[in-house]
Symmetry: C2
Subunit: 342 residues, 2 copies
């Protein structure tokens, strides 16, 4: 069945959020802050109290982010039934527990209850829509809109449809999330775990292996990221970061020089064959990401970025205390060599 939108992404006024837990409640807070009317529904008895507490707790943060004109927690309505929740909605975001059968039944119910031409998005963290849309009367408007926790602060949302989703519904949803202030990655094919979860799951599984083998502690693992690569990843992704590790030779030098380390037992994950096609894809991708920025430009950007992040996360001594030892500031402890010997 072809998808014909009931309205434009720019004209959406009311969003229905189905499921009001940590993720669903986070979506409610985000849409309220962006100035939408939000109707929520959750079968749990104490759902409304918990939801309003979550929104109240998040609101000061949302005020710092900058509220849209007219944004208010008062524009949240908690509906007594699913049908009433979606009756007037221009967009539906489903955030039920991660159980396939539950998602299938719920999405079928939503597809039957929502107005024609309204896109219904699932917050699933990994199920392909093809597996979830099997029982829906009209699967053409069902898409995955996968957020990160908390949805009201982390910009990323991954958008992808299923076999029976109309490409027009995917395009409409990507535009809507963009208008609603999210940072959108639209995928042209289904991939279990999408993109970001595959990356963090690989890291997570390696971390679990290390803890299971007594090779590292939880504290070691968290510190190795927050004191290391995590400082760069807040503003420069792993590809461009590694391109800089290649010096002025960039990703080409990095792959040609460190390529062999892909075969070293640095993780339990087997590496792909670094053939010329993959090499060129990485090199060209980084070149396009760098645009007209030179190696020196990128190094300067990275350095300023790390300093800004260190300062933002309280790891730089305050100006008035520069020079004074500060054991609470790892990596930034001023020290006069030999002082202990003088």
């Amino acid at each position: 069945m072809p998808f014909t939108p009931s309205t434009t992404p720019e004209a959406v006024r009311r969003v229905a959020c189905i499921g009001a837990g940590v993720i669903g409640g986070g979506w409610v807070a985000h849409f309220l802050a962006r100035g939408y009317d939000v109707t929520a529904w959750d079968p749990a008895a104490d759902a409304e109290d918990k939801l309003r507490r979550l929104v109240s707790a998040a609101w000061p943060a949302l005020e710092q982010l900058g509220l849209a004109d007219g944004a208010s927690p008062d524009r949240l309505t908690v509906a007594p039934t699913l049908a009433e929740a979606v009756a007037d909605a221009d967009f539906v975001q489903e955030s039920a527990p991660e159980k396939l059968e539950l998602k299938r039944a719920l999405l079928a119910e939503l597809a039957a209850a929502a107005r024609p031409g309204v896109v219904i998005a699932s917050s699933t963290s990994g199920y392909p829509m093809t597996d979830m849309q099997t029982t829906a009367a009209d699967p053409s408007r069902l898409i995955v809109g996968h957020p990160f926790n908390p949805p009201y602060l982390i910009p990323l949302v991954e958008v992808v449809g299923g076999t029976h989703t109309d490409a027009a519904a995917v395009a409409w949803a990507s535009r809507f999330y963009d208008v609603a202030g999210k940072s959108v990655i639209t995928m042209d094919r289904e991939l279990p775990g999408f993109i970001a979860n595959r990356l963090q799951e690989a890291l997570w599984r390696e971390a679990l292996h290390m803890v299971a083998n007594g090779e590292a502690t939880v504290e070691d693992i968290d510190a190795s990221i927050t004191e290391g690569p995590g400082l760069r990843w807040a503003f420069m992704g792993p590809c461009l970061t590694f391109a800089l590790a290649g010096g002025e030779g960039g990703m080409a030098h990095m792959l040609d020089h460190f390529g062999p380390s892909l075969k070293s037992p640095w993780t339990r994950l087997e590496a792909p064959e670094l053939d010329s096609a993959l090499r060129d894809a990485m090199v060209d991708g980084c070149a396009s990401a760098a645009g007209d920025r030179t190696y020196a430009d990128l190094v300067a950007e990275r350095d300023q970025g790390v300093i800004d992040v260190l300062r933002a996360t309280g790891r730089l001594p305050r100006a008035d205390r520069a020079g004074a030892p500060d054991p609470a500031v790892p990596g930034q402890r001023p020290h006069t060599p030999g002082s202990a010997a003088r």
Copy 2:
């Protein structure tokens, strides 16, 4: 051979940096900024020019970080020979190219030339010291001190010895790096790739698989991190971050609820068996990391941290422009729903 330090970590005044490329030069900049006398040696003909350019380029960033008393680029000496470079050094940092035979020969030469009781550290990104110290006359003072790029900005250094390293040398080096302003993880066993590289290598390999299969582009991969998990990892590691994903139930709820997803094909990396020992190790580790901070405390910290990082990395509208559309600020674009329809 037992290790007897020539001086205390606090009394170190002169550091020798062997190899002055991207990493070695970064170490030079870091030690100069922390107020040490630094002697560098690199066999390349143009090494001194490149090194002094690197230090000059890094210095404004180091001034922002806060220089130690008396810190100056003028305290850098470039020695004509390796022997002269280490003759008066209280500590030696080797950052030669990542070639095992080269490292073996160089470390043996350094162990012969450095004064007795001086610790010699290798910046190797993955070779176990046991494999590198095979030909050294006195391997007891050879340790791995693995930095991240750039060493003058990223606090993390991973410290570990080899089979023939004296534990006292590992302890001395860990204390020295701490005094020198680094954030130290001391490992009690050798593990190829250490900790942080194993984690980022797992992520990197999964990223390469996705690009190789046409499942994601370099741009998608970088954006999925900088707009997603990377924002949290700048200040809260993957374990504590996932503990928050468990809501008030924390890591216990997260593992009990999402444990099955470890078996889902979200990455090419096989997951370890989530037995009760691993579950408890993760739960206890996160509980100890949280200390007396409640779930609400941690959520508030995370939220403020993400906001601070978004602001630090230029992804928040300036106060005077809050409410004004800013297409250049993904995830933070103020929007009045329905405005396009009015």
